[in-house]
Amino acid sequence: MAQPLPYLKESPSQTAGPYVHIGLAPGDAGFDIYAQELGRDIAGPNAAGTPITVTGTVTDGTGAAVKDVLIEVWQANAAGIYPGAGKVEEGFRGWGRVVPDFDTGQFRFDTVKPGPVMGRNARPMAPHLNLWLVARGLNIGLNTRMYFGDEAAANAADPVLNLIEQTHRRATLIARADGSTYHFDIRLQGEAETVFFDV
């Protein structure tokens, strides 16, 4: 027998279930309890850069909208700086929670477009939003990224997009630009399944 290692093991994940909103967005569950709900404003009032809107739908393997999903967003500011890693604008949290319309399944949120962020080995990453999805039926949160359709040159050089072996799947991470609105659908399964990461 070798010496035992002293490490603990990460607690296993369990689904967030259909009522995740009670805990993380009680206003969407239909009641008012906290003086301040967290994650309702990603960029804050003083953020520099281009204000943008992101819309889309999460769909399952049958094509149906996943209406009970909750998405968390984590992003750098317009200068490519994450809160905690450098100085950002007062009130810029860089993080938020997105809940779709329970009837249509369409989500919509406002933020500012992030700048490029330095990746590993001094290779810059194209501007992107980090997304984490939880829902009933998802046993562990899904990590993905949203890149911007009007950043073709930066996307072509992005070290993460370039890791995707099936080159046609890279498009699943790139939002379609329509002025300052970006449309980004997420497909959990089936044709054009979104690329998800083990980070």
Binding site: P6, Y7, L8, K9, E10, S11, P12, S13, Q14, T15, Y19, V20, H21, I22, G23, L24, P26, A29, G30, F31, I33, Y34, A35, Q36, L38, D60, G61, A64, E72, W74, A76, Y82, G84, A85, R93, G94, F102, M118, N121, M125, N130, W132, V134, R136, G137, L138, N139, I140, G141, L142, R145, L163, I164, L188, Q189, E193, F196, F197, D198, V199
Partner: protein, 240 residues
């Protein structure tokens, strides 16, 4: 980022995306493999929260939605520490919980179970761990409830728990169960976790020492997040 990285997530301890006995996972599980990504600043940073973000009563579910009365049910304390895989405490991190009331009913516009809403119980709470990674909630023990999967499935009493850590890639949502509950072994959601030792890690222990006599009974629940790796020798692309 040269100083720290995260230990690889041990996915053999987590439930797989596709767990057919939990029927909802079938159409919602990705079928293509996850793309393994060495972490960058995008994964190693994460949001932080402070005492300005929450209120003093937010961790007391017995009082945080009381409308002139007290919620019905067994008064309990849930406490423990948030640690990482190096057994180091995770201080000042946000812990959020949500749960059904004592009758097994959620305060949610989509829940239509027969058991009644409790007018004095909201069912959510949040707190920050202290400098030692310690947290505490006071609440009501949630009831078991039926759910549509097989015709006669019942969820064991449970509390949903959401934790942040310091890196977005440590983000975790899980569920806490109660020691001795016979429904744990029968629940298809619990049983999505393939390793019985990992399931045990989600079962809070009855903790008589932390109970308040004549008032509330305590359960202890520690939460472990992914550990941080210190890098002593950098990769050298040229092989040196």
């Amino acid at each position: 980022m040269t100083a720290t990285d995260l230990y690889q997530r041990d996915r053999t301890r987590h439930p797989p995306a596709l767990a057919p006995d939990y029927k909802t996972s079938v159409a919602r599980s990705p079928r293509l493999p996850l793309l393994s990504l060495q972490t960058s600043a995008s994964e190693l940073t994460g949001p932080t929260f402070g005492h300005n973000d929450i209120a003093a009563l937010d961790n007391d579910l017995i009082r945080n939605y009381a409308h002139g009365g007290t919620p019905i049910g067994e008064r309990i304390i849930v406490h423990g520490r948030v640690l990482d895989e190096n057994a180091r405490p995770v201080p000042h991190t946000l812990v959020e919980i949500w749960q059904a009331n004592a009758g097994g009913r959620y305060r949610h516009k989509k829940d239509s179970y027969l058991a009644p809403i409790d007018p004095n119980f909201g069912g959510c709470g949040r707190t920050l761990t202290d400098e030692n990674g310690y947290y505490v909630f006071r609440t009501i023990k949630p009831g078991a409830y039926p759910w549509r999967n097989w015709v006669n499935n019942w969820r064991p009493a449970h509390i949903h728990v959401s934790v942040f850590g310091t890196a977005f890639a440590q983000r975790l949502i899980t569920q806490m169960y109660f020691e001795g509950d016979p429904l744990i072994a029968k629940c298809p959601i619990v049983q999505t976790i393939p390793d019985p030792r990992a399931i045990d890690q989600l079962v809070a222990a009855l903790d008589m020492n932390a109970s308040v006599p004549l008032d509330a009974i305590a359960y202890k629940f520690d939460i472990v997040l992914r550990g941080t790796r210190s890098t002593y020798f950098e990769n050298r692309p040229e092989g040196n």
